[in-house]
Structures are given as C-alpha cells and as structure tokens.
C-alpha cells in the first residue's frame, strides 16, 4: 500500500518552517526520506528505523511514530536550496524486501 503524503504542495518564504507528513495503512519497520529536484535523481536525506526516533540533517529533521504508522519531516528556517519534491518511502514489516514511495510533496521556497 502506497503511503499518503500531505500536503501535496506547499509554498514558503525563505526562513519559514514546514512540516511534511507521511502515513501508512500498514505497520512500518522503516521510513526513508528523499528529496528530488526537477530533472534530477532523488537524493537520500535520512532513514528512521525505530518508533519515536528523531533524526537530523542540517536544519532538516524527522520523527517516526511506529504506533501511529506515520513519519513527519521538519524543515526549519527554509533555504532556497530546499526547494524540490520530497518523497517518503515506507518499509512495511510484512514485506521487508522493498520500500514503497509516496507520491511526493512539492516544496517551493520564495526569496
């Protein structure tokens, strides 16, 4: 089952914060976050493997609530370089052999 991402798109001014959510209908083992700029390959941001764990990457962090089967990506004091489409990929317990990507959240940062 494909995870559901929200919002589908968001527009921010430079310096503002954003939250992107990723929800699954299945029990999760892992959540993977990637960013893809237009015309480029997805770039890895982080993997979360434990419930409630929080990870950080520069001013980007994420949480993983295993009980709620969801993850949130937090972008703090957004920069122009943060623009792109953010994908979450979920690794369900039932199928540990692959991750399934959501349809993405398009983030646009304006000066």
């Amino acid at each position: 089952q494909q995870p559901v991402q929200s919002p589908q798109a968001v527009i921010l001014r430079e310096g503002e914060d954003a939250v992107i959510n990723c929800s699954s209908s299945k029990a999760l083992y892992s959540v993977h976050w990637y960013r893809q700029k237009h015309g480029e390959a997805p770039v890895f941001l982080m993997i979360l493997l434990k419930g409630g764990e929080q990870k950080g990457h520069e001013k980007i962090s994420a949480s993983f609530n295993e009980k709620k089967q969801q993850s949130s990506l937090y972008l703090t004091a957004s920069q122009l370089s943060y623009s792109g489409t953010y994908f979450c990929g979920t690794g369900p317990y039932s199928s540990a052999s692959k991750i399934i990507f959501g349809s993405g959240t398009r983030l646009s940062i304006r000066p």
């Binding site: 892992s30 993977h32 390959a41 993997i47 052999s97 692959k98 959501g102 349809s103 993405g104």
Partner: protein, 114 residues
C-alpha cells in the same frame, strides 16, 4: 566514489518499438533496483536484484518488460514492445545490502514513447 551510472539519458521511440536501458551500480553494492517514475508521481519499483538473483519483480509487466543482471554487477532493462503509457523516467538505484540500507539513485533515463 563514483555514483550510479545510467545510459542513455534520453530516448524517444515509437510505440511497438523496443528499447533497452543500462545501469552500472556503485562498486561493491550488492542490491540493484529499477524504478519507473511517471511525471508527478513517486518512483515505483519494477524489479530488485540481490547480486544476480531477483528478489522482487511483482510489479514488472512481464509480458513486455525484462531485466537481467549478469555477473551481479551491471544491469539492463528492456521494453518490447513499448506502449504510450511507458513514457516515464527509469531510475536505477543501488545499495550495499537490504532495503533498509540507503539507496543511491542514478540520473535516470527519460523515455518518451510516441
């Protein structure tokens, strides 16, 4: 460390023609993935190899798509015959081991079927 290499970068063909894509993963990466990404959507896994064995090909349209990874290194994905709905970016990714490892993506091949 060299990244994942893919070729060609762009391909335009007519429907019913055949096409092949090539991928060379990061050296030492045992797992190789082929994804299809339709415009505006997330990558959809077509096939996953562990060394030269297939781990998952449940979403590969086997009547027209085929893939191989001889010698457990580089891989080719073929479409024969192509349909209009095959227009997409085909991404190759590799990782050191299982799906919980970081996947590194190549630049992709953009296919347009006319």
């Amino acid at each position: 460390e060299a990244g994942v290499a893919q070729s060609p970068r762009y391909k335009i063909i007519e429907k019913r023609q055949s096409v092949a894509f090539w991928c060379n993963p990061i050296s030492g990466h045992a797992t190789l993935y082929w994804y299809q990404q339709i415009l505006g959507q997330g990558p959809k896994l077509l096939i996953q190899f562990q060394n030269n064995g297939v781990v998952d090909d449940s979403q590969l349209p086997k009547d027209r798509f085929s893939a191989e990874r001889l010698k457990g290194v580089d891989s080719t994905l073929k479409i024969q015959p192509a349909k209009l709905e095959d227009s997409a970016v085909y991404l190759c990714a590799s990782s050191r081991g299982g799906p919980q490892e970081t996947q590194y993506f190549g630049p992709g091949t953009r296919l347009l079927v006319l």
